[in-house]
Symmetry: C2
Subunit: 348 residues, 2 copies
């Protein structure tokens, strides 16, 4: 059986004021489609993972948001972190829980705040990766073919000389690369064989548990030790006790970079991590001058390349701006140059 683990604990501070700690962007309809990013993440897996096999790991404070937005997910499959400890503890917790339920599970782990333009292409990739993961002890990541020398993502270098014997188009990973300097990103583009690390992983539960046992044994032991308490009244109290003691470490550092059987499936499905207002603007329908609008009526005069995102305003008139964010939520308005958006976290 296939399982989906959605990681939904992020704070989304770069999308302030629309995204706030009380309601981060994964719980918002940032595209104005009527579905939140979390809902879109679950939606796009339809046909691959049965709704009853969807799990969500999130912060305890977002329990009600998840319950409201994904009512089809049983309460017992919404795992609540008492504090953030990056992705390794989060994935380990979910993996042990799923292993207890179904030792033959195959799992997709996905962030909750990314978007995908070509969902059929995405499902084909995931299905191929699941098939491969089920037949091997491979750890598979989806690698996004880079369209520009982006410095905001980590990269995966694939060994394109050897495709997997089992599945065409799946390659061994040579190395994981940190977010590069601009010149380095340019070189990655020129050389080829580099892909953006989308943070989407596919593996069998036995593969990832074994990998945790070998490469992150302390974390693995903590969640294994709770096996008798899972699905009992004591589970949350035990989790609340051990979670703060877990190492604060990403799955990339804890497992991916150390493991041997790591593969990448290069993919093109219109992916964006929605990490910035700029990336959101690029994803939205734009007028002839590059202006994009979500959730409000907007009139533009002498205005280009702006993104307007307002949920509490009815009408917006913008005159004489080029390349700005105009964002409003719950009575807070921010006007900021897109080129300065890395400063947004200092504004609140």
């Amino acid at each position: 059986m296939n399982y989906l683990v959605i990681m939904a604990g992020g704070q989304g501070t770069r999308f302030w004021p629309v995204s706030t700690a009380e309601c981060p962007k994964q719980f918002l309809d940032v595209l104005g489609t009527g579905r939140t990013l979390l809902q879109l993440t679950a939606d796009r897996m339809r046909g691959i993972v049965p709704p009853e096999n969807v799990w969500v790991v999130t912060s305890a404070r977002y329990r009600d948001l998840v319950a409201a937005q994904l009512p089809e997910v049983p309460a017992g499959q919404v795992l609540l972190e008492p504090c953030g400890r990056n992705t390794a503890p989060c994935i380990c917790y979910a993996s042990w829980k799923i292993k207890k339920r179904d030792p033959r599970a195959n799992i997709i782990v996905s962030p909750s705040d990314h978007i995908v333009g070509d969902e059929p292409a995405f499902r084909k990739c995931v299905a191929d990766a699941l098939e491969f993961a089920a037949e091997t002890d491979g750890i598979v990541t989806l690698g996004i073919k880079p369209s520009r020398p982006e410095t905001g993502y980590g990269y995966i270098r694939a060994d394109l000389r050897y495709s997997s014997g089992r599945k065409a188009g799946i390659y061994r990973v040579d190395a994981f690369k940190e977010k590069p300097e601009p010149a380095v990103a340019e070189r990655y583009m020129a050389e080829g064989g580099y892909f953006w690390n989308a943070g989407i992983f596919i593996w069998s539960v036995s593969t990832i548990i074994n990998a945790f046992r070998v490469y992150a044994p302390a974390i693995s032991r903590q969640f294994e030790s709770l096996l008798p308490y899972y699905d009992t009244d004591e589970e949350q109290a035990r989790i609340d006790e051990i979670y703060p003691q877990c190492e604060n470490i990403s799955i990339d550092y804890a497992v991916m970079e150390k493991a041997d059987e790591v593969f990448v499936l290069p993919a093109e499905f219109g992916w964006s991590d929605m990490g910035t207002w700029s990336s959101l603007r690029e994803r939205l329908p734009q007028d002839a001058r590059g202006n994009a609008v979500v959730c409000a009526e907007a009139d533009f005069y002498d205005t280009s390349n702006c993104i307007v995102h307002a949920t509490g305003l009815k009408k917006i008139v913008v005159q004489g701006l080029d390349g700005y964010i105009v964002a409003e939520k719950d009575g807070t308005l921010m006007i900021c140059k897109l080129s300065e958006e890395q400063r947004i976290k200092l504004f609140h």
Copy 2:
């Protein structure tokens, strides 16, 4: 006895979206002081005109706004225009009404949407003008000493050679001048003897009624003909009938430019007609970079010379703007360069 006639029928479209046809700027607390411009207009006459002698002429649609904001003004002194006919019919209507009540009345006529920085100086001017008007059959205007070659106001040229024999510092008017071209405004400044026409008039009721009879007899006859109906149940119906037939003409054209005994009292009391967002910004307290804020909490980054005016927002963050208006009311937000504010009327 002294009487005040406040003209409060304007639409204030240049202050959109804060000022709207439903609630124009005279009914708004545009300075954030807790009092509306209409209230400030009445307030500053305290000690000169008893509250029971205040009259307001406004559009019928603003009756409730006036009643709410000036509860001390008796309902019978709020005169309702069924349609706008500029200032001559408005002043003529009020003058006949006051003449019926008190044939020895002295009257100040004032717009409702101007502001005055130095109220004691203003009251001194008005008191001097009232004294002069009571003793003579003079028509007195207040002339504001120009601080810049403003092209947005009309000018009054005074004959400075001859001060009034009765009152020092009151001069005969040589001519009224339309809003000038920039070069002409510069010349007015260089020559001296030119003052901004603030639209504030002081006269006795007999003087202004006589002037209407001579220079605008058709208008005068219409309001004189209603004398039997004033303060009866029929008044409003009769006014609604004759008002649309009145000539649409300003008091300047109808009377001031034609009359002989017209005087100007040059004055300096920090006057502004609040006609533009720029003039409002200049009147407000500003931070070190020239930013002014009304009604909301605002943080500025790399931002200069902006005015933020928002009543429906709690917090505003502005990054990277120089010389902009950020104005919000009732869910409508406008961002516009101050230098382009003459286009605001096209935005709604």
